[in-house]
């Protein structure tokens, strides 16, 4: 299919971001996305070509604004949706997702209580809490 993914010969993307001896992953979440995509159960119809196709079907603005592993996560999501292994409702609930516990715990209680008060309109700035 013709699409923005068919990039050979296009202009305007600038210099290649060459990095000598770069690591396999640059962020922990990239590492997890990749592992998740490898380890997940898939619908029977989903093979390598199917996964590639699901990325190619991304709306072009999303394709260009997402980083590589974000596209993989998108592909995983749409593939599982199309195979009805997850539902749209379940995925949409993810918009309310919170940062994982470990990271929430790292926020000092005092900060949390200040933020809570701020949100309730009980003080106007951090210093007055």
């Amino acid at each position: 299919m013709d699409g923005v993914h068919d990039m050979g010969g296009m202009h305007g993307f600038g210099k290649v971001p060459y990095e000598k001896d770069e690591p396999t992953f640059h962020h922990e979440w990239e590492r997890r996305v990749w592992g998740l995509c490898q380890g997940s159960t898939y619908p029977d119809c989903a093979n390598l070509d199917y996964g590639r196709h699901s990325i190619e079907l991304m709306p072009p603005d999303l394709y260009l604004s997402y980083s590589y592993f974000e596209r993989w996560l998108y592909s995983l999501t749409t593939t599982l949706l199309s195979g009805e292994l997850v539902t749209l409702e379940e995925v949409q609930v993810l918009r309310h997702a919170q940062m994982p516990q470990a990271q929430r715990r790292s926020i000092p209680m005092r900060t949390m209580s200040i933020v809570a008060k701020l949100m309730q309109g009980r003080c106007s700035k951090l210093g007055t809490a």
């Binding site: 993307f13 990095e19 770069e22 997940s40």
Partner: protein, 208 residues
């Protein structure tokens, strides 16, 4: 509308626009959902990461190249049927079911790309570096390979032919770089240590 078309459209339109904008959060949420639904186990994810970050990598491809440098019969088999030749060294697996090896010479420099996505011989080279997957590399390297190579620090004479190989859905390319001068006395194992990932993509030349 054909069934196939309907199927494609159903993939295209899920409303995912309101997912968290932070990819780390999006990943965590998706992982939690899939674990909860029994579609994946966290330890399975860990195992894949461990394997591809530590076990599978360019040192595999480097063994193939070093063997080709020291063993003329293996080199011939590799250039004729790379899939079979790498299998001799035990390399069978992800994205290595149809391998083509191409040899750099003083007259020809080969360079590999996947303009459509990120196809790459995982079993031999591990996962591709970010620059290989970048829009700039994918778009430019088929149009101005000499310029891109120059940016990578590879200067080629005008008399050197540049061949760019665009990976297909199935075929994975492995560049056999030129054996550097001064390595005549080195063992196969020592030679393998000289071979870099980038040289097996064609993005670097080797020196010792």
């Amino acid at each position: 509308m054909s069934k196939e078309h309907t199927h494609s459209d159903s993939l295209q339109y899920p409303d995912l626009a309101h997912l968290p904008s932070d990819p780390a959060l999006r990943m965590k949420a998706m992982e939690s959902l899939l674990v909860e639904k029994g579609l994946v186990k966290p330890e399975t994810i860990d195992a894949y990461i461990e394997k591809f970050e530590h076990e599978i990598g360019p040192h595999n491809g480097a063994r193939v190249v070093a063997r080709a440098w020291v063993d003329a019969a293996f080199r011939e088999r590799l250039l004729r049927n790379a899939t079979g030749a790498v299998r001799e060294l035990g390399f069978i697996g992800s994205q290595t079911t149809d391998v083509v090896a191409i040899e750099n010479t003083p007259d020809v420099h080969n360079l590999v790309v996947c303009t459509l996505c990120s196809c790459y011989p995982w079993t031999l080279l591990g996962l591709p570096p970010s620059w290989y997957k970048s829009y700039a590399y994918r778009s430019r390297v088929v149009r101005e390979p000499r310029e891109v190579l120059k940016e990578f620090g590879v200067e080629l004479g005008e008399d050197v032919e540049v061949r760019v190989w665009d990976s297909t859905a199935e075929v994975r390319y492995l560049v056999v770089p030129e054996r550097p001068a001064g390595t005549e006395e080195m063992s196969e194992e020592a030679l393998a240590a000289v071979v870099t990932r980038d040289s097996m993509i064609g993005a670097a030349k080797l020196e010792v």
